[in-house]
């Protein structure tokens, strides 16, 4: 018997929540960023699972686009993190509060 797609969906939810917890509780900027990537991956998994379930290829195309966006995001985001590190000499989000007021 094949594994039902719902198994993958639940798995993706689990991964998504782990990612969310990570984003919320970790303090290092780069690690937060990695958890965001994890969340994106989890969503990708649910896309693929539903694509399989509905027999439509569109879900995979969305995943393709998400990957491209994630790549761009990493490129720009890491650039920004580098800038912050150069100026602040820290990566702790609780110390980076220049956005206040």
């Amino acid at each position: 018997m094949r594994i039902t797609p719902d198994f993958f969906v639940i798995l993706s939810v689990i991964l998504f929540t782990i990612g969310l917890i990570g984003v919320l509780i970790r303090r290092n900027l780069i690690i937060i960023f990695m958890f965001i990537e994890l969340m994106l991956n989890a969503v990708n998994l649910s896309f693929i699972a539903y694509s399989y379930k509905l027999g439509q290829v569109d879900g995979q195309i969305y995943v393709f686009f998400v990957m491209v966006l994630a790549a761009v995001e990493v490129a720009v985001g890491l650039g920004l993190i580098m800038l912050i590190y150069r100026n602040k000499k820290t990566l702790d989000v609780d110390d980076i509060n220049i956005m206040k007021n």
């Binding site: 984003v23 919320l24 303090r27 989000v93 609780d94 509060n97 956005m99 007021n101």
Partner: protein, 651 residues
């Protein structure tokens, strides 16, 4: 035809743009060559159009150039309507306008702002031509406002003089009051007919079978509202007050705008709307009553004015009253006929007075004139032609048109009583009186000027006198196109205009014919004789007082109370000031400014500011700079979205 017609208004516009933008650097000769060239060619085009139109034998030509405004089922086209009525108006406007352009060279030559003057004059020509050519009410309104703007600009031409700029403002504001009625009328019209196009409205009136309204139906209301607009533009009671003050502008302007063309826009508009008015007897009665009252009232003020141009201004108001009287008794073509002859002789009177004023170095008080016949022979002679015309002396143009109006108001087919006729006849007497007074005081009797001043007086340049002569000829023979019935000649003018009135209800038309035909043969002749006698009486009185007794304006003061009352124009300006302007001032300072503006509007604005400030201090706490708190908010938002999805999409 399509291209020919568009060039008629476009040319003056081009002249305006050229002179308005580059005129400062142009030499004076080039300025007036541009201005006169453009209006001259456009006059030529009008004449060509006229002959073409005659050869076509059509009732009307509608040309749509482009869709101007389109919103929902509201469509306004930029299009022209050429029919006998607009043809007559075109000829009058462009012809008289062209002549006055020529005249202005001599009159304005030594004025600063030569290019500005001609630019405004060209802009006026453009607006007026659009007004008479428009094929819908909205485009007509554009022209209507355009001429109002030019009027304002030209009244205030000597803007450094406070009285001139005040007069400009007065004209503008008083016209706005009228325009308010006009715009409301347009809205009601659109609301009723879903269109503002002349032909669409009139045909739908005919098709939907609107009959003659006995009470206050929608057509009557529209008609009255449009008439309110006309009272503003055409200076009728109660909005006439701006026209006498408009004489602050240069004299050619008074001649062109405030006598010959613009002020007749109201008459044109009502004639154009004859399909509406002929179904609204109540509105017609109001038009006639206001018209005839104005005719008499303004004429009486004219008797004691000393300023030569003011006499003419009140005379204009009075003559416009005649035209509205004609409209009020459904003698539309007689009204237009008087409009045309009036354009000739009143332009001539103003231009003649301008010639006098120029010769006397801007002396306008008749107290200081007299005996100018010797010095200004051409001006004197041509002005006599106009005076005879306006007074209704036979053969001259005004005689035929005024007589037609009086005759038609005598047999008034709308209400059937003679009130308009009586008012009109008395006004005719007074007209003859004040016009002859003006002529006697200016050109005859002994000179009341110093020898030194008199030596400088000389006849105006040829460009001015030639215009005077042409207009004098027109004032003399212009009436022959509309001969009254008893002469046996056909009334060419009325016949030409006939297609304009094809939207009138059949019942009214036959009633009109019946009333006119059923009069006994000699009656019209009798009415004519009466008006001749009346005019003669006015002349006689003027002759006795001002030639035999050699009375001067200052001698009139002996009349005491009556003189004072009339000289001060029945204190109407003061009454308006007390009852309208002061309350508005009080209201706007004490209520609008101190309560509405300071308390309410500023209060609301400041209140919003305080509210935002208060809220933002609360909200600013959320923005504490900690990224994780932002993420927390995002997550809370995510919960909200999920909850929303569950509530709405999951069953």
């Amino acid at each position: 035809m399509k291209t020919l017609l568009i060039f008629i208004p476009i040319l003056p516009l081009a002249g305006f743009l050229l002179n308005g933008i580059f005129g400062r650097s142009f030499p004076k000769k080039l300025v007036h060559r541009i201005a006169i060239g453009t209006t001259g060619i456009s006059f030529l085009l009008v004449v060509i159009t006229f002959f073409k139109f005659l050869s076509l034998h059509t009732e009307s030509i509608v040309i749509n150039y482009f869709t101007w405004i389109k919103a929902g089922d509201f469509v306004a086209n930029f299009g022209f309507l050429l029919d006998p009525l607009s043809m007559v108006m075109l000829l009058v406007v462009s012809g008289v306008g062209f002549l006055i352009h020529i005249y202005s060279i001599g009159y304005m030559w030594n004025d600063i702002g030569y290019n500005r003057f001609f630019a405004y004059l060209n802009l006026f020509m453009f607006s007026m031509l659009v007004l008479v050519l428009a094929n819908n009410y909205l485009l007509l309104f554009v022209g209507w406002e355009g001429v109002g703007l030019c009027s304002y600009l030209l009244i205030g031409f000597y803007f450094h003089k406070k009285s001139a700029s005040d007069a400009g403002k007065k004209a503008f504001i008083v016209n706005r009051i009228g325009d308010f009625g006009f715009v409301v009328g347009l809205m009601l019209m659109f609301f009723t007919f879903r269109s503002l196009d002349f032909n669409t409205i009139f045909t739908s009136i005919v098709k939907k079978g609107y009959g003659v309204e006995s009470g206050w139906g929608v057509l009557t209301v529209i008609a009255v509202l449009l008439f309110i607009g006309a009272t503003g533009k055409s200076a009728q009671i109660p909005l006439y007050v701006w026209l006498p003050d408009a004489m602050e502008g240069p004299t050619p302007v008074s001649a062109l705008i405030h006598a010959a063309t613009m002020v007749t826009a109201g008459v044109y508009m009502i004639t154009r709307s004859n399909a509406i008015y002929s179904r609204a007897p109540h509105a017609l009665f109001i038009v006639g009553l206001i018209g005839s009252l104005t005719a008499l009232y303004a004429a009486t003020i004219g008797i004691f004015q000393r300023d030569i141009k003011r006499v003419l201004a009140y005379s204009t108001v009075s003559q416009l009253g005649y035209m509205f009287t004609a409209l009020g008794v459904m003698a539309f073509s007689a009204g237009i006929f008087h409009l045309m002859t009036h354009a000739f002789f009143k332009a001539l009177l103003f231009l003649g007075s301008g010639s006098v004023i120029l010769a006397l170095h801007h002396e306008q008080d008749m107290q200081n004139m007299g005996g100018l016949k010797k010095y200004l022979p051409i001006t004197c002679l041509s002005m006599w032609a106009a005076t005879l015309a306006i007074s209704g002396i036979p053969i001259f143009a005004g005689f035929f048109s005024k007589d037609e109006i009086l005759w038609r108001s005598k047999i008034d087919p709308v209400k059937g009583h003679m009130i308009f006729y009586i008012l009109g006849t008395v006004a005719a007497l007074i007209t003859a009186l004040y016009m002859f007074r003006l002529m006697f005081l200016t050109f005859h009797g002994k000179s009341r000027m110093s020898e030194e001043k008199l030596s400088h007086v000389h006849e105006s340049p040829k460009s001015m006198t030639s215009v005077l002569i042409i207009l004098a000829i027109l004032s003399t023979i212009g009436g022959f196109v509309g001969m009254p019935g008893w002469t046996g000649f056909p009334n060419v003018f009325e016949k030409f205009l006939d297609p304009v009135f094809r939207f009138m209800p059949q019942k009214v038309v036959s009633h009109l014919h019946h009333v006119v035909e059923s009069q006994p043969a000699g009656k019209e002749l009798l009415v004519t004789l009466i008006s001749i006698v009346v005019a003669g009486l006015g002349v006689l009185i003027a002759y006795i007082i001002y030639i035999k007794k050699e009375a001067l304006p200052k001698d009139e003061e002996k009349l005491g109370f009556i003189y004072k009352l009339i000289y001060n124009k029945y204190y109407v300006d003061e009454i308006y000031n007390f009852f309208v302007i002061q309350p508005i001032k009080w209201f706007s300072t004490n209520v609008l400014w101190k309560i509405v503006d300071v308390a309410v509007i500023d209060g609301i604005v400041n209140g919003y500011a305080y509210l935002t400030e208060g809220l933002s201090t609360v909200v600013a706490r959320i923005q504490n700079g900690f990224i994780r708190s932002y993420i927390g908010w995002i997550v809370l938002g995510g919960i909200g979205i999920l909850y929303y999805i569950i509530l709405n999409f999951i069953r």
